[in-house]
Amino acid sequence: MFDLSYFFGVFPVIASKLQVTLSLTLTAAIFSIVIGVIIAVIGYYKICFLYPITRFYLSILRGTPLVAQLYFFYYGLARVSEIVLNMKPLTAVALVLSLNTGAFMSESIRGGLLSVDSGQKEAAAMLGMSELQTIKRIVLPQAFRVSLPSLFNDLINLLKATSLAFMLGVRDIMGQAKSEGAQSFRYFEIYLAVMIIYWILVLGFSHFHKIMDRKCMDMY
């Protein structure tokens, strides 16, 4: 049933795409955390005209499936924009993933922002700190600790979502697995290989999470 030799043969083939998955994940993670923070802060202070815009952005990006977003971006916009037309598929995927994960992260961060008691914000205001200074120096560092578990949820979802690249013909781990599967139909072996690879990646993330968690805990 389970073909061990096939498994050991296919494992390195799939693992060879690690680099694509990882580089996509990390690139998009960096951009999305930036987007997430900015949108969360706008949402927190309900900054006049920016707020409705971000709400709309959130509702579209969170509200529609990622595949459809990528499709419209890469194939729809390509008809009107030379830039998109000539864009490398990897760039397009990274961009759409950043925008999408950014939307999710912004909500995770907003949750954390809610957890900081208003007393400290008042203290900052009374010292003459601007809202931006307050959020940067007082609120965000504390919100971060509370948001961390959710942000890692988002990161893991992002990692998995990079498999979207295969839609544009870029083979990541999952794309490679699908190709191999379509060829050999040995999905048990292939999925096991995929699970192990992702699992190790997520274990890596979790370790990183634990370190950050412990750092945050010191204060309390």
Partner: protein, 245 residues
Amino acid sequence: MIEIRDLRKSFDGRTDILKDINITIKKGEIVAILGSSGTGKSTLLRCLNYLTKPTNGSIRIGTTSIDAKKHTKKDIMELRSHSAMVFQNYNLFKNKTAMENIIEALICINKKSKKDAQRIGLQLLEKVGMLDRKDFYPSKLSGGQQQRIGIARALAVEPEVLLFDEPTSALDPELVGEVLSTIQKVAQEGATMVLVTHEIMFARKIATRILFMAEGTIVADGTPEEILDFPKDERLKRFLDYNVN
């Protein structure tokens, strides 16, 4: 220095917590506000720097005047730049150590170098007797220690007006004495002060003027002697009678 005109505050739109408050405070005055719990002392103090937004009335501190009905964010920022406050429940920054709490505004508002700020921070920590706790986070400080950091944080920015909300509630007599002398020293340097306190002896020692509040209004206003030794208002008399002494 401070001028409050027709100040009114209601949280729910029905009951007024503050009613038609009119006060003028001169530069260098040390004004103590007395009154029983829940009469609006903290609310009045918080209105002075717009942490609580008044429903009505206008407030002037120094050169900045601001009206409840029409004002900009910039006005509020300017108003706040004249004053600093010590909160009843301290409100220390939880993600900053004692030292960092004190120098936060120096670095971030007064644009002092980190070294300068820390020099000032050390002086203040010394003044409130907290040198040995300078790297502790608030969660690891005792109540009185937190309160002293709160006081040091307000003093650090050297504002024209200092607002104290029960600054000695968690302090023992020894420390109260020290805070008293610190505050008097700052007053001599020309700062104006408004203190909410329920320690009548403390008010007598420190204040040049005492206001007595009841049910959201100021029912008595005068020198410590006038208020404490020759009270006229009935509620004030009862209030003083209960004094444990």
